[in-house]
Amino acid sequence: MVRTLLVRGLLLGLLAGLVAGVFAFAVGEPRIDDAIALEKAAAVHEHGAAAEPGSATHGHETGTPEQRAGTHGKESGTHEHGDEVGRGTQKAGLFLATGLYGLAVGGVFSLAFAGLRGRVGPRSDAALALATAGTAFAAVIVVPFLKYPANPPAVGDPETINTRTLLYLAMIGVGLLSTAIAVTTVRGVRGGPWARWPAAVLAFVVPVAVASLLLPAVDEVPDGFPATLLWQFRITSLGTQLVFWASFGTLFGWFCDRAARAPAPA
């Protein structure tokens, strides 16, 4: 049973990851191209063309994107977009990234689903799949997004990447913890839905709000970066995750439903 759920989670996660990749490719890549163009322009403006002694072939936009040139690993800290991996390869890598992300998420989701099933949440598998995916999207995606929204290339100081990553992970922890508090609350509160649901929402929102106020802000948008591009990128990024979780939850629930109708295997 657990094995069946895990295999289903891995495969459907991969599939949902590729669906999200299609959305990200169609809607997100133009924004990334715009941001990288701004980044290049700013780098040339600030440091001049001689900023990097090693790479004379900097102007790759005009030439072929296939110039990964086997230099990976040579350069250590700083990363320059498109110098190690061409933009064409990066756009293909987008599908690899969302696909593998879906695989990993789908696997973890299916094991969590196996643990929740019959213990917490709706009784039907399809409803539980949708409720769990929706809750996970709120806790693991929306909560960190509200405090530390996605940024396009050209926004963000490379020096602070480790701090920002830890803060981002901390917000994921806050989202998961708040979910646990809300679930405990909804089970503990007596009274009808009119008492339970507001209590659950409050038990989720209050810890998230407190953590958001306590954790440090990150504000690294360069002066003059177009606000419209920033907004569009952030919405597109949230949209990519929404497409992933909506397709994954629907597919997982649908397959559970289908399996329940079929003659039961051992």
């Binding site: 049973m1 657990v2 094995r3 895990l6 990749g21 990200a24 997100g28 890549e29 990334i32 990976h72 690993g73 040579k74 350069e75 250590s76 990363h79 977009h81 190690e84 991996v85 390869t89 990066q90 756009k91 890598g93 987008l94 690899l96 990234a97 969302t98 593998l100 992300y101 695989l103 990993a104 998420v105 696997g107 973890v108 094991l111 196996a114 643990g115 099933r117 019959g118 213990r119 009784r123 995606i141 997004f145 530390y148 929204p149 996605a150 940024n151 396009p152 290339p153 963000g156 490379p158 990447i161 920002r164 990553t165 981002y168 990128f233 597109t236 990024s237 949230l238 990519t240 995750q241």
Partner: protein, 61 residues
């Protein structure tokens, strides 16, 4: 129609499969967060997954 008790999977059935979780989290880490320290590919893996990282909303650089 299955009953609630039939739907509940005993923890003893679940635990061995939880060994997959560290591997899945490592995969997630490599896709979303590694900057060469674990993957040992320099910046290659980061650059390959770069657009995905930004569009999936994790901090990238």
């Amino acid at each position: 129609m299955s009953t609630l008790s039939a739907r509940h999977i005993p923890l003893s059935h679940l635990v061995p499969w939880l060994l997959a979780v560290p591997a899945l989290l490592l995969l997630g880490y490599l896709v979303l967060m590694d900057n060469g320290a674990v993957s040992q590919t320099g910046g290659y893996l980061h650059e390959l997954m770069h657009d995905g990282r930004h569009l999936l909303g994790v901090p990238c650089h």
